[in-house]
Symmetry: C2
Subunit: 385 residues, 2 copies
């Protein structure tokens, strides 16, 4: 096991009817800004629940935070936070709304004369933030129980992340009932996103971490069992609860501590989204099988363990076992509605050339195997046509 | 899945050489009291590592906190905390030292005119505490990452617990290397203690929690695989690391959230310790198999799942499967040195009568099946002779 440090102070409030707890969770004297996304919360009853819990308080609303939240949008909220003296941010929505809110929280307290974008671009440490609370409505990113945020800047075509111990929400309310009305596409993307989050922390290189490995396998098996049910039986509370908790556990650090992580599929997937606008989850479903095929020797021990414990596939022919496990993975993605292919997502040869150029220019290596532009090109060509 | 709330802010610092981090973790201007137990830290090098990290600072030492820490001892430390203005407590030792320190931290700030024992006896809420840091030297209780403390009072023969959100340590340093010199008896007790902690949260009644279940099974399988190695190969770092992390995960709330808990084995085991002085872990190894035999119908679904997933035992004859799983459990306890029997631990018919009387007088029911004195008597008689 590798050395690690772990401090996750989020107060998780999980279950039916828990949005009402906002009344006690949001500080009574706070000047609250409520952030949200495209407005689905005003159609699915979440907005009414939040407002009922906060009845009698002044709440400044800031809607319109996009999927892949934009720096430009967030900075508008920062101006309002400053002019209105906002001292508590309540994010009501999915991971994108929360990621944007994390940036707003940090940027509003950024006292340097420089642009707060430096937090993402230069990794300038965050030393103060407006405290954040959260009602999460889409299980996928795990942002509700970690300190990560991913923000995009339109003017420079950058999609960058930052992490801060201050960016962990003070509380996160996870009510599985609010996920029952999600569109199938978002459910599918969330399941695939969670599955790949777990794999990026698990299908890497063994360093003797049986507890972490078995927990990762437990989340994967749960996604395989429960994922299709969320589509066939969308009002099943337990299914929704298990998928919601899977998304949180998938990226709250419990699986990552002491192990070797990778994140190569995400690095490549982000660029596909940048050039084609394909949903994040779908890019992951496209890339991961190809990346595993290409890095099968480097990831051999863990791919064989994954084949055995997640899919029950064993055998003497290692390549056949690995191929079968990859095929099972692709079938699972299809079963929840992610039939990933280059043609479906517009990943043409020209797009591949552009992506490879990005990695060439950037010069940095990705994955814990430290592969570069050449290998990324080969992986993209291996993606399902 | 049941509704739950979870907030665990402990900063866990895990790995080789991490005691040196005390230099940055203990506030520079703190007036520190270092608490410890019987003095093994002065023989195994831990004391020197702590003092080297805190070189140049004034540290008040308070040793002699017992296994099953005593109220009377803790109150001596409380007096010193008050007279010396101690504002940081550093617990260096096992779970008992830390549990005692948690009581000291709460009692020293107890402003009511009443006896701080009320925190345990009447559940008086803890509203202020001296902050605690911890170097844990014995993996077993999980106290390093939870808010629980168990304290005994000699004058009244009581052994009581309390929980407070303020009792979570600010940080806990877990260096597996310091556990390599532990006596075999303590290693064995710690393995059994952890195993039973997990079972009390897992072998109960199913409420559709596949993630929590599989994580519990992962910890049990890890204990079964790694436990005997700790005794046969005591200097194996990875084995020690996996057992240390198992003990923490076994009782840091990750397994408990959303599930049905039990704690019946612990309730009975505590009384055996009270009347016979038997080690806590050994009492658990004695009671749990008997409790499972007696409550086999109430726990049937989870016992069958345990038999299948932990021991690979399946079959149509449910009783035979459950008996085989219980037998495997007993064999495992034996394999790490806990050959539990009533005769070995002095649990005579007279002791059983006394224990049953305690439960009769107390009147409360234990386990989530709400069994009382009669059933507890039957369970004690079912314990290995």
């Amino acid at each position: 096991m590798l050395n690690f440090q772990y401090c996750n102070p989020v107060n998780v409030v999980f279950g039916k009817g828990q949005i009402a707890k906002l009344a006690e969770l949001v500080p009574a004297d706070a000047r609250v800004m409520m952030t949200y996304g495209g407005g689905s919360i005003k159609r699915n009853g979440v907005y009414e629940q939040v407002m009922a819990a906060l009845a009698g308080r002044k709440v400044i609303e800031f809607g319109g935070i996009e999927p892949n939240p934009k720096y430009e949008t967030c900075m508008k909220a920062v101006d309002i936070c400053k002019s209105e003296g906002v001292d508590f941010l309540l994010s009501v929505g999915g991971g994108s709304t929360l990621d944007g809110t994390k940036f707003i929280a940090a940027a509003a307290k950024y006292t340097a004369t420089e642009d707060p974008w430096d937090i993402c671009l230069k990794g300038t440490p965050v030393t103060d933030e407006i405290p954040i609370g959260c009602v999460i409505t889409l299980p996928a990113t795990g942002s509700e129980m970690n300190g990560w945020s991913v923000v995009s800047r339109l003017s420079t075509d950058e999609k960058l992340s930052f992490w801060s111990q201050l960016s962990f929400p003070k509380f996160s309310i996870l009510d599985p009932e609010v996920t029952m009305s999600l569109p199938e596409r978002q459910v599918a993307n969330g399941i695939v996103d969670t599955f790949v989050h777990v794999c990026e922390q698990y299908v890497t290189r063994p360093v003797n971490t049986p507890i972490q490995d078995r927990q990762a396998e437990g989340v994967l098996l749960t996604l395989i069992e429960e994922g299709p049910k969320a589509l066939s039986d969308p009002k099943n509370y337990d299914v929704r609860a298990n998928l919601m908790w899977a998304a949180t556990v998938g990226l709250n650090g419990w699986l990552a501590k002491g192990v070797v992580e990778d994140w190569g599929t995400h690095a490549i997937g982000h660029e596909i989204t940048a050039f084609t606008g394909t949903d994040h989850g779908k890019t992951l479903a496209l890339v991961m099988p190809a990346l595993w095929k290409y890095l099968r020797r480097e990831k051999e021990a863990k791919l064989l363990q994954y084949a055995d414990r997640v899919w029950g596939i064993r055998g003497d022919d290692k390549d056949a076992v690995i191929d079968a496990a990859i095929e099972k993975t692709v079938e699972f993605f299809k079963s929840v509605g992610c039939d990933a292919s280059r043609s479906a997502y517009g990943v043409t040869d020209e797009v591949i050339e552009k992506i490879v150029l990005v990695f060439e220019r950037r010069g940095t290596k990705i994955t814990e195997c430290a592969i570069g532009a050449h290998e990324i090109c080969e992986i993209l060509k291996l993606c399902a046509k």
